[in-house]
Amino acid sequence: MAGEERNLTASDKVRVRIDNVRKVFNTRNGEMVALNGVSLDIHDNEFICVVGPSGCGKSTLLNIIAGLSEPTSGKVYCDGKEVTGTGTERGVVFQQYALFPWLTVKKNVMFALEMRGVKGKAAEEEAMKYLEMVDLAKFADHYPKELSGGMKQRVAIARAYAAEPEVLLMDEPFGALDAQTRTQLQTELLETWEKKRKTCFFITHDVEEAIILAQRVIIMSARPGRIKDIVDIDIPYPRTQETKMTPHFMELKNHIWSQVYQEYLEVRK
């Protein structure tokens, strides 16, 4: 299948360039360096996962790419343009879903479309398409409080897609879900990504999740947060849950996990 060519050699075009980013927070106990000297090129349509112990600055890096936070020094470029704030070409999926509770599922998706200038009937119809994509068309008129965590996150993904971003930034989107729902959403996300290719920057603390999704896994170390290692995942797509049983997957998992665990021990010290 076309699986092979979808691998990391697929595009050499750099979509996002992270150039020597440093982020310092002023806390009560003095300065805290959250990120130091982080540089990374994210290619067009590439799926990148970032793993690392909590406090390694994963989310800080995502917020900087999203334009929700400014780097203390260094720069981020998206399509060659310096990032100075949020932009619709960079969509975000948050761990806490961040659905507007006063809007129905459909209106949540329509919010993204309306911000893009799609109005009225057209917005409604297009919203339904995105809801069908995540298999939630039936729940269009429900309020978020009536949905399970997994369903909420699917709505959030549909809403992020509806904004038609070039880059999808996901901050531990499945972190709050149970193991089964998480596996299911991973599969669905991969399917969606294969249908509608996007550049994905996905943060997780789950090493298996990172390997099953990503073309490259970025391992970050803590205090200060920096890139420790980048592991190419040369498993062809489409990947399924069976992929997790293969010896090669296990090998990669052990390799990445041991590095993450080392970092975890460092943090505990």
């Binding site: 999203a66 334009g67 929700l68 949020t86 932009g87 619709t88 960079r90 969509g91 975000v92 948050f94 806490q96 961040a98 659905l99 507007f100 509770p101 006063w102 809007l103 919010f111 993204a112 911000m115 893009r116 309020y143 978020p144 409080k145 809403r159 904004a163």
Partner: protein, 276 residues
């Protein structure tokens, strides 16, 4: 069945509670209300026959009879309308001032740092205490009444709305921003609806404060009003019409509260948890 002892016990406990609830639930709410009403009437009747309390609590027939007395004296409707005018004007004014001030406080830190301590300070002073100052400044009549109610309503509504605006979930604002929302979009489409439950709570609390401040407001030398009349009846020891007026204020309060609560439920049914 859970084998675990602790779970088991927890289960039993829940069952027991459910059964107890079942007994209370079998009687419809309306019947409970009737029982509650009858119990209060019984208590009232007891109070009206105990010599020590009978002067303060004349029986229900005397109180109902005083409706006619007050109409004959040509004051009942005058008092009602006078009080309602003061309460409504003060309440609306209080809200109109509280809304922008609360938003400014939430958005601009200097405004917050300057105003908030004073709101907290004045909020804890009973309005009755500063009424004389207002009368000295504004004279007697309608004006000081409205000012007192406006101040009391403003304070409680401002604090409540302010809490609502600063408690808007930051992630929702971020989510809107990354979807391309402008500041105006965020204000109209995120902050406003997210604050709505707090605004409705403020409206409800304000209504209750407006009524409870009425007595203080009408001690400003009013020539009519429910609160003013209670004070003047006090001078002639007419407890039956006094009790009537107290009950009227109570009925007004609970009616307004029920109306606002209904609106609240309609407008904020999307909320995960409902406030009390």
């Amino acid at each position: 069945m859970p084998e675990n002892g602790q779970n088991d016990r927890k289960g039993d406990f829940l069952m027991e509670k459910k059964n107890n609830k079942g007994l209370a639930d079998r009687i419809p709410a309306k019947v409970w209300l009737l029982i509650s009403f009858l119990a209060a009437m019984l208590l009232w009747w007891v109070l009206s026959i105990i010599p020590a309390t009978s002067r303060a609590f004349p029986n229900v027939f005397k109180v109902l009879g005083s409706i006619k007395t007050m109409i004959d004296r040509n004051v009942l409707f005058k008092d009602l309308s006078s009080s309602l005018i003061s309460v409504c004007s003060g309440y609306v004014l209080g809200f109109v001032i509280a809304l922008p001030v609360a938003i400014l406080m939430a958005w601009y830190k200097p405004v917050r740092y300057i105003i908030e301590p004073w709101i907290q300070f004045i909020r804890n002073i009973p309005p009755l205490a500063y009424v004389p100052l207002i009368v000295i400044a504004a004279g007697v009549g309608r004006k000081p009444q409205i000012i007192v109610i406006t101040i009391a309503c403003f304070l409680i509504m401002c604090v409540t709305i302010y809490q609502g605006v600063i408690n808007v979930d930051e992630t929702l604002i971020k989510a809107a921003r990354v979807l391309g929302a402008t500041d105006k979009d965020i204000f109209v489409r995120v902050i406003a609806p997210a604050t709505l439950p707090f605004i409705l709570t403020a409206i409800r609390l304000g209504a209750s404060v407006a009524l409870t401040t009425l007595i203080a407001a009408e001690s400003t030398g009013a020539n009519a009003g429910l609160g003013m009349r209670i004070r003047s009846l006090n001078n002639s020891f007419e407890s039956a019409p006094m009790l009537l007026y107290i009950i009227i204020i109570g009925i007004l309060g609970i009616t307004i509260e029920k109306l606002i609560k209904t609106a609240e439920r309609r407008l904020t049914s999307w909320q995960e948890k409902r406030e009390i």
